[in-house]
């Protein structure tokens, strides 16, 4: 798994291009592009976080919008009560998401496969309807946020500050995720996907590793929600509705499961396409659906694999194969053996 050594240029280039967006938007006199860009970065952050459980651990969480919504409401509710301090909002957001992820994860991780998908979905729906029932905080209609999160030196009022906050957080998270991927924790986490029984036999707690990843993922998604609330100046139950969870999964999948930067490309592709189709027709979903299907079919493994033809494969690893060993032959070339037998 050396691909990141061969693609060192991708991350700096990507973030350089992203850093140019506000300037280009200003030059074009189209401030809307900054808002769109900020939205893309925020969803990219959430997709990056989801990838920790979906891509690395192979756990299909169909309820990550719940954390996005919790982050939004952390800002909305605190701001409604006059607490505009961003640090306080961030602390509450992290604490609430961590606690919810701990409880939800403890229950969900007792199951696997379809069971896990359904239970994460069920929890997300519970929180969705909880938000709908909060009449005090706007209920179904959502909650306007009149005061942006204030972090002392800066506040998140307007698209520009949110854009740069999201850009910085996404960069930091990507770098951390790249390190995590090669770290003992990341290696064990990815191993639990391939072979949980062996991870168990080596003496690690599969449950503990998965739960840690789920909590970290939930918290990071919650922080994305905090940014989203500031961008839209709005907290609404719709942010935690299940289609949002689905969109996040689609972003991760078309970006490439398990690679670190894939989800970012997935989020960019998904939201840019959505925006483009929306500007063409109000029936944009008719175009979006087939496009996602085509991407999923053509670029199996997402962006990571579609780029793989660009780079040369690493030199083949030296394998010592004693020529006398019959067992190898049997394992490696069943077709050849069958041909031999039939000849």
């Amino acid at each position: 798994m050396q691909e990141h050594n061969n693609r060192r240029w991708v991350l700096p280039l990507l973030f350089l291009v992203l850093a140019g967006v506000p300037f280009v938007a200003q030059w074009l006199g189209e401030p809307f592009y900054v808002t769109l860009g900020a939205r893309i970065l925020i969803y990219a952050l959430a997709a990056l976080a989801l990838n920790l459980v979906l891509g690395f651990a192979g756990l299909v969480s169909f309820g990550h919008a719940m954390f996005l919504g919790l982050g939004c409401y952390a800002v909305g509710i605190l701001s409604y009560h006059g607490f505009g301090n961003g640090w306080l909002q961030l602390a509450v957001c992290i604490a609430v998401c961590a606690l919810v992820a701990l409880i939800v994860g403890t229950v969900c991780l007792r199951t696997s496969g379809i069971g896990f998908i359904m239970i994460t979905l069920a929890f997300a729906q519970m929180f969705y309807f909880l938000a709908v029932s909060l009449r005090e905080y706007g209920g179904d209609d959502g909650l306007n946020i009149y005061e942006a999160s204030s972090f002392g030196l800066f506040d998140l009022g307007g698209s520009q500050p949110v854009y740069w906050a999201a850009w910085g957080l996404l960069l930091a998270s990507s770098l951390a995720m790249l390190r995590l991927r090669r770290s003992p924790f990341g290696m064990i986490l990815r191993a639990t996907h391939a072979n949980p029984r062996r991870v168990d036999a080596l003496g690690y707690s599969v449950f503990g590793v998965r739960l840690t990843a789920y909590v970290a993922s939930g918290v990071l998604t919650g922080v994305a929600g905090l940014l989203l609330a500031n961008l839209t100046a709005f907290a609404s139950p719709s942010y935690m509705s299940w289609p949002v969870s689905g969109e996040l999964i689609v972003m991760v999948v078309i970006g490439g499961l398990g690679s670190v930067l894939g989800p970012i490309f997935g989020a960019v592709a998904y939201l840019v396409l959505e925006e483009a189709f929306k500007s063409m027709t109000q029936h944009w979903m008719l175009l979006m659906g087939p496009t996602v299907v085509i991407i999923a079919m053509v670029a199996k493994g997402g962006y990571s694999n579609s780029l793989s033809w660009l780079r040369r494969p690493p030199p083949a690893a030296p394998t010592v194969q004693p020529p006398t060993a019959e067992g190898q032959k049997d394992r490696r070339a069943p077709d050849a053996l069958a041909k031999e037998a039939s000849a």
Partner: protein, 257 residues
């Protein structure tokens, strides 16, 4: 070979161990006593309950009755993790390694358990020098150092089987549970594993399940014969070879072992 990584071998014993699957008693009152440093082989016909017994020892299965003792401690109710922490490590009959990782990474993940209480999410796995050293030591013992950087799914079958053992070794065991380490190997590969086990003998307590009778008779200090979940005989290679019940139940009357 300098195995500074090895813990002192510990004794392993069971008392009236019982495990049922529905109406079937897969393990039926097994009392086994393996001395520290002993290589104890478990043989028996297919379906005799050998792997079930290994799973009971390793903690993957809980017994319905009886006890397992590791050294002086009763580990009957201990989880797999707790038993690994006390030095009980196993290999699998069906090769169970991490295919998308390199050989060395596989061994590092095995070696890491004893050397780090917390899993770092920041330091690279390969940056833990002591872990890498311990892993390389285990690979060397299993003659895999030449393919350390190869990805596991590019390995030959016999090498994957050897990695299976290397991973158990890298965990610094005091007791090794080896479930058919030679399953599916060619004669040449088997000979390599026999030599490997010979070199490990005495430094670890080893419970070896194996179908290859030549290997068992060459390696084992003592042999227990399992039939329908019961131990029908325990003894040295000669005693087992000449045991009338064993000949009837397992080796077959015409067996001239």
């Amino acid at each position: 070979m300098n195995m500074q990584t090895a813990a002192a071998p510990a004794g392993l014993s069971t008392q009236d161990l019982v495990r049922r699957f529905g109406g079937l008693k897969a393990t039926d009152g097994v009392s086994l006593d393996v001395a520290p440093g002993e290589l104890h082989a478990l043989i028996g016909p297919n379906g005799a309950g050998k792997t079930t017994l290994i799973n009971l020892l390793s903690g993957e299965l809980r017994p319905d009755g009886g006890s397992v003792r590791l050294g002086a401690a009763d580990v009957s109710r201990a989880t797999v993790q707790e038993r690994v922490a006390q030095g009980m490590l196993r290999s699998y009959q069906v090769t169970s390694v991490f295919d998308s990782y390199t050989v060395l990474d596989n061994a590092c993940l095995a070696a890491l358990r004893k050397r780090r209480r917390r899993l770092s999410a920041w330091t690279g796995l390969r940056d833990c020098a002591d872990v890498v050293d311990a892993a390389k030591e285990a690979l060397r013992a299993c003659r895999l150092e030449d393919v350390a950087e190869a990805q596991v799914d590019s390995l030959a079958y016999g090498q994957r089987r050897q990695l299976e053992i290397a991973m158990a070794l890298a965990g610094e065991p005091s007791v090794l549970l080896l479930d058919e380490p030679m399953a599916g190997m060619s004669a040449a590969e088997s000979a390599g594993v026999i030599a490997l086990l010979q070199s490990l003998k005495g430094r670890y307590t080893i419970v070896l399940v194996e179908h290859d009778m030549n290997a068992v008779f060459a390696l084992a200090d003592r042999i227990s014969v399992l039939v329908y979940g019961k131990i029908i005989a325990t003894g040295s290679a000669d005693q087992i070879r000449n045991h009338p019940d064993v000949r009837r139940a397992y080796l077959g009357d015409d067996a001239d072992a």
